[in-house]
Symmetry: C2
Subunit: 387 residues, 2 copies
């Protein structure tokens, strides 16, 4: 029975792959625009490091594209999350609500603030935070003191919630913002995977107090390594930028730093790559949608699995395509992955739930049964922008 | 009197500057080797991000050049220091001995470990840690318990010392290692400014348990932004690399992380730049020595100042050239800087002592009178590799 399903899935996926490749990686970048021109210009100018015109240009163009007032380019998505959490007010000892299904950086960034991740269950519909379930959980497991939310069991303040837009599929932000308002939570969007994704016509990352983007090599666009903080709040933006540049106070020559800062600024040479990549984003997104369409077409007739498609109100970037087994079955999931790897099709499962990692297994959490189910059901498919 | 001295200094420095420049920056990178070739190759390969052949090559070549067993390429010198401190065993609550005259990253990296900088005075001879003075201080202000050194006043463990090779001039490492041995301290060399500097024929950064290099845009060679951990200890190297790659346990597809890691890996595109730069280091160092020689020639006859030259046993990279006023005089120092800025010669003072920065002013410290004096005496001169 399983063998037949695995054959069906393998053949369907192979039918979508281009025939001229030896290996089908999960996601590789595409450079066919002005990458080389801008990088050469950058080298010729000698302004390759933490100051330069491409950093300014990249920040302006990112802000314009995502519809926020300010974007601050940094070394990677982790740095963007770290700064986002700090500037929105996460304090040592706080708890921060994050989905149990996310890349480990979401939890790590909380830890860098000396705060604790508090794991929240995910939702079958969006793959992101299960807002309704969380609402009920917070109602019974928290209390409010002087306008601040506290965990009834740990007595720690719960200051912030981090919705993560899984594989580029937006969380239902109306619901989430309503919950945040009800419980007085700050919102930091983890939009690391979300560049090019829209919820009700607005770009993800433009809803929270702050948001983090990533331009790692496997993302929709890349700067080698890179990320950005997005925000509509000029004060938060200024602080994020200040912290990213070792909190140096402007002076013609003196080295005065007024708080503990970070060396998180994106180098100009990486921003040059980013500017060229950003110019091609409409093309990349079109090709990614087309690939998702093709996957869906061949997969929808297979019984026992579904192809994950964007939900109502959402326009997804389809960063990573995903299939879901109808029922949780980690053995079947692994068998499918193994078979496809044999065919040089480098699929992967979703991340291991963060609460199962050794360093996070004692963190506070709600019931995480949907996340566990999803972990045993999801397989990501190659999502390259092929020619 | 001062006016005459300022005129003399200005004329001397101007006589060394090339005549075809509008502005004389403190330090700009030079790209005249294989920079374009390697970066283009890197883009064409699409391996621009955290894995790739240039990262491996850069690490191997760095290790070979500095004479250590292992080099781990990371996003910047701050990240290299942070990892170096963690892997050598700095624990939350520890104190770490660092010079009061250093870039703020030295203190910040200690803080990221939830440890406290303990400021140490500097030395007129080396501009680095004043080892003799520190020896006397530790003898009277610390005690040993179960083989560990403790601060008598705070009762915190003092685990580590961080000698910083100021402007590329090596600390007397024999003296420093003797002190470290005597007091059971781990040694993390802050060699951010030291690439190309040697102490008794051995490259700086090869003496400590670990060391940190920087390849920021203003350093001897640049990768845009970048740094490296150096060590002769394979176990520490493996752990530093593991921590720099979000502590991911190797697996064909599963996302398992076994401790709190960091996104500190140098992108391949930056390493490509680094490989090209490293090939040119003999030429860069020769030109920098020649510039220092020229500065010394025109400055040594001026009464009231001296040009800082390498000391016995040292072969300095002369990263940043420096003059010292004979006597501390912050007003004169600032007047000289202002005058030279008017002439578009972008000199700068040494860093403000870290213990004077608002976030570090309550940290433990010894008498720091030499550092204070040096801060009022030192001016860094443009140190470019001109044609």
């Amino acid at each position: 029975m399983n063998k037949q399903l695995i054959d069906q899935i393998t053949n369907a996926i192979k039918s979508v792959m281009p025939t001229d490749q030896e290996v089908y990686p999960l996601h590789t970048p595409k450079f066919q625009g002005n990458e080389w021109k801008y990088m050469k210009d950058c080298i010729d100018s000698t302004w390759v490091s933490s100051v330069g015109k491409y950093v300014d240009q990249f920040e302006k163009e990112l802000a314009a594209y995502t519809g926020v007032k300010r974007a601050i380019a940094v070394t990677n998505g982790t740095a963007a999350l770290h700064l986002s959490l700090i500037v929105t007010g996460v304090q040592p000892g706080d708890e921060v609500l994050i989905p149990s299904l996310s890349f480990v950086a979401t939890a790590n960034a909380v830890t860098y603030c000396q705060a604790t991740p508090h794991f929240v269950d995910c939702d079958q519909k969006t793959l992101g935070i299960n807002v309704k379930k969380l609402f009920a959980y917070l109602e019974t497991n928290t209390f409010v003191k002087q306008g601040q939310l506290y965990n009834k069991h740990t007595n720690n303040r719960i200051s912030t919630i981090v919705p993560m837009h899984t594989f580029g599929h937006p969380v239902d932000m109306d619901e989430l913002l309503e919950l945040a308002k009800q419980f007085d939570l700050k919102v930091v969007e983890d939009a690391a995977e979300g560049l090019g994704s829209f919820y009700k016509g607005k770009h993800v990352g433009s809803f929270g107090d702050t948001a983090a983007l990533s331009f790692n090599g496997n993302k929709v666009i890349t700067t080698g390594g890179g990320g950005a903080v997005l925000t509509n709040d000029e004060t938060l933006a200024d602080r994020a930028k200040h912290l990213s540049t070792v909190a140096k106070v402007p002076h013609q020559w003196e080295y005065i730093h007024d708080e503990i800062g970070f060396n998180y600024r994106m180098p100009n040479i990486n921003a040059a790559l980013g500017c060229a990549q950003l110019e091609q984003i409409p093309l990349f997104l079109e090709k990614k949608r087309n690939l998702a369409y093709q996957y869906n077409k061949v997969i929808k007739s297979i019984e026992g699995i579904e192809f994950f498609t964007e939900k109502e109100h959402n326009h997804s970037n389809y960063w990573l395509n995903a299939i879901l087994l109808d029922d949780p079955d980690i053995n079947l999931r692994n068998e499918i992955i193994q078979r496809l790897h044999k065919e040089k099709i480098l699929v992967r499962p979703i991340w291991k739930p963060l609460n199962e990692l050794v360093m996070y297994q004692n963190c506070p959490r709600m019931d995480l049964s949907v996340s566990k189910d999803l972990n045993e059901r999801i397989i990501n498919l190659p999502s390259n922008v092929w020619e």
